[in-house]
Structure formats: structure tokens, C-alpha cells
Amino acid sequence: MKGASLAHIVLVIAALAAVPLLTASNVVLNFLVVALLVALVGQGWNVLAGYGGQYSFGHAAFFGTGAYVTAILQMRYGVNAWIAFTLGIAGGALVGAAIGALAFRSGLRGSYFALVTLAFAEVLRILASVAPVTGAGVGILIALDLRPQAFQFQGRVPFYWIVLTLVAVSLLIVRLIEQSRFGAWLVAVRENEDAARAVGVDTARVKLAAMTISAAITAAGGGFYAQYFLFIDSGIAYGPWISIAALLAPIVGGIGTVFGPLLGALVVKTLGEIAKLVTGDAPGLDLVVYGGVLILVVAFAPQGIAGLLTSLRLRFARLRSSPPERAHG
């Protein structure tokens, strides 16, 4: 299990950064902005589930909190958009820490953890759909103010740079985790909690830290969404769609890898677009494709695209080296 090197990250980000220099197409840029947004949200899920083994079905709780804090602080309290965005990340992290503290203190694992995260996201969704401060059922509109200091821009290119920067930061964070003691402990928790405790890992604390980081990254996605689309309601912010997107991207790309969420987000969004092109833009069809992809990947490529690439590379290496060396096990 070799991690991604710094050079890989620089190379990938540089390649993506070159796209606006090559095309000014709004369709391409919009596609990439949304794909990168999904990659960001998925990277959050990846920290907790891919590295820590805690499968959350309710990452919408953090996405929605990031989005609502960003929007509400601006529209109700006149806070500057950038500050609101930053506080949105903090708010998401706080919600993550709170849910994590409750869930992990009670020793919830596996299915129970998935259930409780799902339930928290639903509670927040219902609350947001009735509370006046969130605009209740109507949702909340961020007033048009096309100035950089208001985190709003004329064209899509600046948004593209910003989301790309956020993705770059998330890649670096995950790479940092991979290289650190915290990362080793987190993976140990995923592999075997009892064994981890026996060698001195404070498993509850490691999981809580992972959940907080995870929630913060996903909340950044929510805040960015609010600024990019300038509208959110309870179904968008806290809806199941984002919880599913958050887990689908890393699973398709390669769970527990630095580039998995990015790779997966690009593939999944591409498939969604193809589905729309083939059959017209009917509601639900892209999600049918996503659900199908999820089942197929789990069934046939549990390590995602990254896993397929690794086994291909191994097979290629084996072909070239003779006599063929067989790994035991």
C-alpha cells in the first residue's frame, strides 16, 4: 500500500489547473466544478470511512451545516461571505465532533453507526424544513453581489480555481494523515479496534478526530455549494443525495486512497452526464446509474478503480519478470 507522493498531487492539480487555459466552455467548467465539489465532499467521507473504517450514511449533516451557516450568517447577520464560509467549515466540524462524541462514546460500530449518522442527518433536514432561521420549506437565497470580497464572481473560472484549491488542500491533508502517526492509528482502528487498544491507541479519540476532520472537509463543500448556486433548501443541504455522493465517489475511485475520491467523482459525474444525454434529462435517472454503479463496484471491484489499476500494474510487472513470481496468499 504505497501512498501518493507530493509530486503526484502537484502534477494532478497542475493538469486540472490547465483546463481553463484550454477551454472557456461553460459546460465543461460547470461539469468540472460540480465534479470537484463531489470530490471534496467525498474526500471528507474517505477520511472517516476509507482510513478509519467508520461508514457514515449521513455526511449530509456536515455538508448541510456548512451550507446553511455560510448562507445564514450572510443573509441574516450581514457577515462577510468569506468569514461566513470559514465559520461554516467550523460549524460542520463542530456538528461532526458532537455526533462523533455521542456515537463513539456509546460504542456504536458498523451498521449502528451508519444508522445513527443517517438519523442525525434526517433530524437536521426536518428541523431545517420547519425552522424560520433556515427559511423553512422555502429555502434561503443568497443575494446577488458579484464581487470577489463577497465570494461571488462573474464567470465560472474563479469558482473553478477556488474549488480546485479546496480539493488540493484536501489531498494534502489526506496525504499528511497517511504519513503521520495519527494516520497509522486511524488505519489500525479500521483493521482491528481491540488490537489497536492493546498497543496504546485511544480509539475513541482517534475516531473522534477523524470524524471532525472529515466533517470539516465535507462542510467546506457545502459552503462552496451555497456560494456557487446561491440557493439552498433543506432537501439540497441535508438531503440523502449528498450523503450518497459522498460515499459513492471514494468507493468508485478507491476507498482509503488519496486520489480515490477525485478519480471516482470524475468517473461518476461522467456516467451521470452520459445517462442524461442518452435518455434526456429525466429526474432520477442519474441516481439510478449511481446506485447501479455502487452495487457493481462493490461486487466486482471492491478496491475501486485504484485497486483495478494496481492489479493491472502487478499483472503487467509479472508478465515482464520471468519466471513468474507468485505471491503467497
Binding site: M1, A184, A198, H328
Partner: protein, 252 residues
């Protein structure tokens, strides 16, 4: 006399209506290899789980260097220098041997590189140097036992609780493992081992506690204990010692 490294006072563990551990009091001297023997179901592993913090005792107290550690969670005990292995091996299955041991080494080392170096060092001492990059799940039983040991040793413990690290090994593998344990004791690590392989107990241990039905029935030097009629009866059933004596031997 020096203060014992580990001291149990009237430790009990109730499981349902059963007393799995029944008023066990014992002291472990610094620097020794102590063995804990007894028939299956005697409560040995339960006692280890209590000492290492995985189970809370129903009654009684446990002291480490004079500090009451009763009910302290496993990770804090590991940080105090109490490490254990598991009878049912618990590798980090998806990780390599090197990464497995490094997680133990991380306890006292923040840096990834230092932990990996220390892990490689420990691996070569327990004879896993050749399989560092193999996934833990692909190891043989004997190698997994060594991995259990290596991961615990990598935490730099002063007290090592070994739960049947020789069980399931063939005689050659047992013979290969014994000098490793002796070497660890030589480095000043106090060892408490649960063991069924009597030949190993006799040649390694300096002091033996015998547990049967949750109680310590006797203790002493290995040779004395093994000849003790109560021990034979605990293993082989009531009247066995008399029958063996009549048959002219007390070999277990």
C-alpha cells in the same frame, strides 16, 4: 523486598452466575518470567483481559508499581508499559507485517520513519525480517504468533502478557520461539505467560501460578508445582494423582 511490578488483590469476575475469576491475589516480581497455567476454562485469559484493561473486575484491585490501575482502559495501560498478546490472534489483517509492528512502535515514537525503523529492528529480532512487506493475512500460524509478539514488544513494555504464544506450534517452532522469549526477559522485560506447553513452562518460567475454576490453587517453582497432586487433579480430574502414583509416575 522490592515492590512487586504487578499486584492483584482479591480480583473477581462474575460472568452471569459464574465466578470466572474467584478472589485471585498474586504478585509478579520485576524481571522474572512468571507462568500462569491451568486447565481450559480456568479463567486465565479472563484474568489477562482484566489486567490489560479489556474487562473490568467485579471486585478487587490491581496495582502496577504501587499505583491502583483497576478499571484503567487498555490504551492507558499500554502507555504505562503493560502490553499483551491475544490468544486468538488479532493482526491488522490488511496491513503488512512492517506496518503492523510499526503501530506498536508508534506508542513511543511520533515520527513515521522512526517507527518503521524500530519495527524493522523488532521484526528481525523475532525472526520476521524476511517477510516485512508481506500482508499480515498471508502469514502462517507460527509467523502470526511472532507478529503478535513483535507488535507488543515494539511498544517497549516493561510488563509483557503473553497469551499462549506457543499454542498451535510444532515442536520445531516451539524450540525456535523459546530463545526469543528468553532474550526478551534478558533485556529486562518482565513476562507473564499463559502456557499449555509444559516443557516450555518448566524451562522458561521462574515462578508458576496454577489457576483452576477461577482460583489460584497453588504456586511456586515450576518443578515443585508440576509434581503437586492438586495440580494433577485439576488437569486430569479427581483421584487422578492417586491413580498415577499407583501406576508409578506423576508425569503430566
Amino acid at each position: 523486598m522490592a515492590e512487586p511490578l504487578l499486584c492483584l488483590q482479591h480480583v473477581c469476575k462474575r460472568c452471569g452466575g459464574l465466578l470466572a475469576v474467584d478472589h485471585v491475589s498474586l504478585a509478579v516480581e520485576v524481571g522474572r518470567i512468571t507462568a500462569l497455567i491451568g486447565p481450559n476454562g480456568a479463567g486465565k485469559t479472563t484474568l489477562f483481559s482484566i489486567i490489560s484493561g479489556f474487562l473490568a473486575p467485579s471486585e478487587g484491585r490491581i496495582f502496577h508499581r504501587g499505583t491502583d490501575i483497576t478499571g484503567m482502559p487498555p490504551h492507558l495501560l499500554a502507555r504505562r508499559g503493560i502490553a499483551r498478546t491475544f490468544q486468538i490472534m488479532q493482526p491488522f489483517a490488511g496491513l503488512t507485517v512492517h506496518e503492523n509492528i510499526a503501530i506498536g512502535a508508534h506508542l513511543s515514537r511520533r515520527s513515521r520513519a522512526e517507527a518503521l525503523d524500530a519495527a524493522a529492528d523488532v521484526a528481525s529480532k523475532v525472526g520476521l525480517g524476511q517477510v516485512l512487506e508481506r500482508p499480515a493475512a498471508s502469514l502462517t500460524v507460527a509467523a502470526r504468533k511472532r507478529l503478535e509478539l513483535a507488535r507488543a514488544v515494539a511498544t517497549n513494555p516493561e510488563l509483557l502478557l503473553l497469551d499462549e504464544v506457543l499454542a498451535g506450534l510444532n515442536p520445531g517452532e516451539v524450540a525456535a520461539m523459546m530463545p526469543i522469549i528468553r532474550h526478551l526477559a534478558g533485556r529486562g522485560i518482565t513476562i507473564v505467560m499463559i502456557e499449555h506447553v509444559m516443557q516450555a513452562v518448566i524451562s522458561l518460567a521462574e515462578h508458576v501460578f496454577v489457576l483452576a475454576e477461577g482460583r489460584i490453587i497453588t504456586q511456586g517453582a515450576p518443578q515443585e508445582v508440576v509434581g503437586n497432586a492438586r495440580v494433577v487433579e485439576a488437569y486430569l480430574g479427581h483421584g487422578a494423582a492417586a491413580r498415577l502414583a499407583a501406576a508409578g509416575g506423576t508425569h503430566v
